[in-house]
């Protein structure tokens, strides 16, 4: 980060960020975005307690994991996440997927947050199903593959690699 005073002072004001992903590759990709959060207050939300070790002493919450076939699990996930979001009041939501990111973006819109969906780099041939549903609700909808970018979204702005 620059040490020089910013001309537009608001650019450097700390924001509350909710960074959210499910397990495995989604979480590994979210961790690779961390330099973008520097200087802001981040709360991480994911699905495994053991991931706490990845982020040191930053704010960290665990919700249950669920797929789209597990309705009860999805409801539990959504309720726990809503409680976390009401507590954290994030201004910005960043997600690399999957189901937890879907709910975070939908709730984020209701709560007045600005939202980013970054489709996983694993989606090489087409946007993920979750991404194609939630992407249009995100303020910034990104694909990590240039050939998947479309005028109506998603946009391509580089990748986690």
């Amino acid at each position: 980060m620059t040490k020089e005073p910013s001309i537009r002072g608001h650019e450097s004001s700390p924001r509350r960020i909710l960074a959210i992903a499910s397990g495995g590759g989604h979480w590994v990709q979210l961790l690779r975005l961390r330099p973008a959060f520097e200087g802001h207050r981040v709360a991480y939300v994911t699905v495994r307690e053991s991931y706490r070790a990845d982020i040191g002493d930053e704010r960290f919450y665990v919700i249950n994991d669920a797929t789209r076939w597990d309705k009860v699990g999805l409801v539990r996930m959504a309720l726990k996440l809503l409680w976390i979001m009401l507590r954290e009041r994030p201004r910005v939501i960043v997600s690399t997927g999957a189901a937890p990111g879907y709910f975070a973006i939908r709730f984020g819109k209701l709560l007045g947050a600005r939202t980013v969906w970054i489709d996983s780099i694993a989606n090489v041939e087409e946007i993920s199903m979750t991404g194609s549903i939630v992407g249009k609700h995100a303020d910034l909808w990104l694909t990590q593959w240039a050939h998947l970018a479309r005028p109506e979204g998603p946009r391509h702005e580089g990748a986690v690699l």
Partner: protein, 161 residues
């Protein structure tokens, strides 16, 4: 040591069985596998079901080469550690994952020269025989591309219009 991993979720019997049978045929004693909920129980290699993230990373660091499903968590962790990785994609029609996105991921990362690929269990033994000549793509930075970090930083710093 050859570190074999099926990733954080779901079993992967085809891969674990093929590696186990290969190790038996070649008399290899330097194979360790993390097999999750895989039904097939290896008879010729060391194995465990689950590994915590920190332990996972130290396994990767101390391995000479990885053999993994074509999940982004495994691929990114190997590239971050500068280790060669041979992947075998899970298939949607066998219900090893939701769809065939791992096949596409494997193809694309093979083209990029980042991974070796065995597209199915019949290809795996020959690819495993060549493991000693599989070289690493070079250690990657732990962070996303400057372009993606920059786009996110700009978005986070923006005021709502």
């Amino acid at each position: 040591m050859i570190f074999v991993t099926v990733g954080a979720q779901m079993p992967f019997d085809r891969m674990v069985r093929a590696v186990d049978e290969w190790a038996a045929a070649r008399g290899r004693t330097d194979v360790f596998a993390q097999i999750n909920e895989t039904d097939y129980v290896p008879k010729h290699i060391e194995w465990t079901r689950f590994i915590e993230p920190e332990q996972f990373r130290s396994r990767v660091e101390s391995a000479r080469v990885l053999v993994a499903h074509a999940g982004m968590g495994s691929i990114l962790t190997a590239l971050e550690a500068g280790k060669p990785i041979l992947v075998m994609p899970r298939r949607g029609d066998l219900r090893e994952t939701r769809n065939d996105h791992q096949v596409a991921t494997a193809k694309r990362f093979l083209e990029l020269g980042k991974v070796g690929v065995a597209f199915d269990e019949s290809e795996l033994p020959a690819k495993l025989d060549e493991l000693d000549s599989l070289s690493a793509a070079g250690r990657i930075s732990p962070w996303a591309s400057d372009r993606l970090i920059g786009a996110l930083r700009a978005f986070i710093g923006e005021d709502r219009a």
